[in-house]
Subunit: 111 residues, 2 copies
DNA sequence: AGACGTTATGCTATGATTGACATAACGAAA
DNA sequence: TTTCGTTATGTCAATCATAGCATAACGTCT
């Protein structure tokens, strides 16, 4: 017997604007410099990644990444300042939750 | 901005054997004395409730409820001892998680 | 034997979410 | 002006979860 969970952030309308999927995607965009490469690493289509990002940005009301198309190398994307802050906060938060949840689970279920 | 989450218990195979939906359903079965009545209260079909219960019991490897069909009133169902214990534990656990999670969220996001 | 309300279970329809395909636009460099 | 890899976006298909329908069995009481 073990515990599992999903956690996410919502805006005022209850739409989910940040979760673990988006967290990983954003991290990889920052690392690789493009949505396309990040999607490939995750084994998802560019279309799916693009949709996720768009939806999140729309529901947040601000941009998470800066996009350039064209130019040398075709362009690319990088996190905005706000995107970076949200990513960092949620990352730390979810790590903390992970820790605490496991502790609580052991308290309740393993003796 | 607010936080939301889903939490559940899994068996060794990673199949989910207890969550908030089942928690409420089991509580109502204990209160009403039948799967049928509990399902009606929740606005779900008997078929759906029955499926949930079956799946959970199969994956747990033991019975959560005792079922009788036929007889006066048609029969009914009530929690087994083990079912009651699991229900109680998960209830307390998820209440605790609820509390802690909100505290953590405020720590991280509301200043 | 008949009635009643419950449990038991297969099957189908429906809706929602996800994924794949196709095509266009972009802009710097050669 | 051609090339290249990226972003942008509509559309259709497929997959999956859920709802509902239909039918059978059960057992006590009248």
């Amino acid at each position: 017997m073990k515990v599992n969970y999903k956690i996410w952030l919502e805006n005022e309308q209850g739409e989910r604007v940040m979760g673990k999927g988006l967290l990983v995607l954003l991290s990889l965009i920052e690392q690789t410099g493009s949505i396309n490469k990040a999607a490939k690493v995750l084994g998802m289509s560019y279309r799916a990644a693009w949709g996720k990002l768009n939806k999140a940005e729309e529901e947040l009301g601000y941009d998470l990444i800066e996009r350039r198309s064209g130019g040398r190398g075709g362009g690319g994307s990088r996190l905005t300042e706000k995107g970076n802050r949200l990513l960092d906060k949620f990352n730390k938060f979810s790590n903390k939750v992970d820790q605490e949840l496991n502790t609580m689970f052991l308290d309740f279920f393993n003796k």
